[in-house]
Each structure stands twice: as structure tokens, then as C-alpha cells.
């Protein structure tokens, strides 16, 4: 499985250390704090983002990230390399935890297009928006992002996770298939449906062209 780590720091760390995950886990089991730090830096970003996009709740995403790595601290030998990559293993834990939490707490996305109401949990900064863009463009961009976020969160979990992994985390389909334990064909069909659903939702909000769907 391969997924891109967008964090520059993670890239640097991966380049710096040639130690593979299995060796790192051995070191972690022996109490090597630096090895744990390397693994944490490698995977905390994608896992945190995944939990965040899946739940739409910042605090929950932090808790899930913490729980995933706590499990790694307590039971590093539980990971079986023959079953897949460490990233996939950690994602699997995060996925299960997120689903359970969301089911338990019934933290569902508000279906209304109230961007302000959800800003507390999912505040969008202005970082991605070009400073040179005018206020109107900024507003449109912000509206688009917010609409997409709420639309993604309103998708059924099986479609949501495919969109998050493939479109937001830029994981390839075979990687997502390995992680979600289904065939790449299933992933492809889920992604197709999920995108269609998203376009519909976005069109309803008037953010994409209705005719082109």
C-alpha cells in the first residue's frame, strides 16, 4: 500500500531514516523512544486527517489519533507484516475506532448548509486561498470547500472513507482496497458512486453545474 505523506517533515524523516517499519516496531517494543517518534511522525498526519474527515470533529480526531498510537505503544507485536503495511494497519485501527465512535455518539454532520455552525470544529483558514484573490473569490472558494466538507460528511461511511482515502489522502485504489479489505473494483465503483453523489449534493447547492452531471 502506498499513500502520500504530504507533510514535508514526514518526507524528510522518511528520507533520513532508512529503517523499515518492522525494524522500527522492534525498537518500539524494546522501548526506543526515537523509533516511536519516527513512526509517529510518519503516520500521525494521515491518520489524524482521516479521523477528522470521517468524523468532522477535531477533538474526536485527536482522541482517535492518540488511541491508535497508544495501541502501538502497548502492543507493537500485534502488527503482522504478512497482512499488510504498518500504515494500513494503523489506518484500519483508526477506521474502526472512528466508526465505533461516530455510531456511539451519533455525531453526524448537519445537513444544513450552515457553515458558521460547524466552524468551531472544522474551521477553515485562509491558508489555501491565494492572498491576491479578491474577497469575492475568497468567499466563493470558502463556500465551495465548506460545501464539499459537509457533502463528504453526509455521505454513507463506506463512500465517505473511499473519498477521503483516494481523493483527499491521494491514496491509490489498490492501497485503499487493501486497507478497506475489498477488491480494487469495489473501490472504483464506490468512488464513482460517491463522486456522483457529491456532485449531486454540490449541484443542489448551486456550486457545480447541474447540466454537466
Amino acid at each position: 500500500m502506498s499513500f502520500e505523506l504530504r507533510s514535508e517533515r514526514s518526507h524528510r524523516l522518511m528520507a533520513e531514516t532508512s529503517i523499515d517499519d518492522q525494524s522500527l516496531l522492534g525498537l518500539i517494543a524494546r522501548g526506543d523512544e526515537r523509533a516511536f517518534r519516527v513512526v509517529y511522525d510518519r503516520y500521525n498526519g494521515p491518520i489524524h486527517r482521516f479521523a477528522w474527515h470521517m468524523s468532522g470533529d477535531r477533538a474526536m480526531a485527536e482522541e482517535i489519533t492518540q488511541e491508535v498510537f497508544m495501541l502501538l505503544i502497548r502492543k507493537p507485536r500485534k502488527y503482522d507484516p504478512s497482512k499488510g503495511s504498518l500504515g494500513g494497519y494503523l489506518f484500519g485501527i483508526a477506521r474502526n475506532l472512528t466508526r465505533r465512535r461516530v455510531d456511539q455518539l451519533r455525531v453526524y454532520v448537519p445537513f444544513v448548509d450552515d457553515a458558521n455552525a460547524s466552524d468551531e470544529n472544522y474551521s477553515l483558514g485562509d491558508r489555501a486561498i491565494d492572498d491576491s484573490a479578491n474577497a469575492l473569490e475568497k468567499l466563493t472558494q470558502r463556500e465551495l470547500i465548506e460545501a464539499l466538507r459537509t457533502s463528504v460528511l453526509s455521505l454513507p461511511a463506506q463512500y465517505r472513507e473511499v473519498i477521503i482515502l483516494c481523493d483527499l489522502e491521494q491514496m491509490n485504489q489498490s492501497g485503499a482496497a487493501e486497507l478497506l479489505q475489498c477488491s480494487p473494483g469495489t473501490i472504483a465503483s464506490r468512488m464513482h458512486r460517491a463522486r456522483a453523489m457529491l456532485k449531486m449534493k454540490m449541484a443542489r447547492k448551486g456550486l457545480v453545474n447541474n447540466e454537466s452531471i
Binding site: R9, H48, E62, Q66, F69, R127, A128, I145, V152, M202
Partner: protein, 192 residues
Amino acid sequence: MNQSEERLAQAFQALSAESPQSAPAEVGLALQDAFRRYHVRRRRQRRLITAGVLGACLVVAAVLLSKSRSSGLQEKQPTLATRQEQSLPNPETRSLGAVPNNTQVKSTIASLRKVHRKARPSANVVSNFTSLASYDPAFSKDGFKIVRVGLSSAELSQMGAPSNVYPAGRRVLTDVVLDRDGIPIAVRTVGR
């Protein structure tokens, strides 16, 4: 790619860029702290377990050693037993050096290896006592002491007891009656 897909891709890019690059620093610090604490606790537990196992091993070794020692002693010891059927003589009079003509007594006493307080019941055949030359019915009346010892036929003959029935070099279990002065006055064999 049609317009709606383009717009969607653009939105995905923007949302992806807006997403946090990593979990907050506090999460990392808390996890690092948890990692440290967990391994300190684990090391302490391991040390305790190791010490416990080591202690248990030592105790087992000590018990085994003491057992093997005691069994070794029992094997080495011949079946010597002392039966105190009558009152013990005065310690002063037990002094062998003071006894005249004590060569026989000395050799008898020297052959005593171990004295058992309780006489073990024996399945051996017990013969009658044979009085020795040193026995004087006029003087010896009480204060007798019977000592069970293993004696060779040579020692028996030295004491004046009949020993020709036993092969030379073999120790014979013998009850020796000592008078108050520690002089053997009678013997009986407890042979089979």
C-alpha cells in the same frame, strides 16, 4: 473532464490543502510521555519478575541442596543407634581417660559414628548378651548403658567377644553394655 468534475477536483484540492498536516503537538507530546511512562513501568515489572524468578530458583536450589545433603548423610551413616535403657552415667565418670585398662573402650567409643536418640525397631535377630572378661558382678550393679555400634570382627575379638562367625572386615551391628565407668561388660550381636 467536464466542468462539474473540474470544479469538484478543485474543491478536493482546496479541502485537502486546508486539512491539518499533522495532529496537534500536544497529542505528540502526550503520546511521548505515555510511551516513556509505559516503558518505565514495564521495565520495573520485568525487573520484579526477574528478581522473583531468581529468588524462587535460589529457594528451590537451597531446598534441593539441603535434601541431597541429608540423604547423603543418611547413606554414609551405618545403622548406629544408642538406646538409653537406663539412666545416664555421671559425666565425670564418663571420662574415658580416667578409666583403667581402657584400650578396649577407646576403640569401641571411637567406632561410634552417630548416636540416635531413638532406637529404631529392628527386624534383625537379637542374640543374648555375652559377658566380657571385664564384667564383675560384684561391682557392676546399676548405671548400665547399652550402645548399638557397628564393629568389625577384629574389634569384637579385641573386646573378647566371639567373632569367628563373621567374615573379617565386615561390620557387625552389636549392642555393647557399658558400665558406669564406660567399660564394656557385655555384648550381643544384632546380626541377621
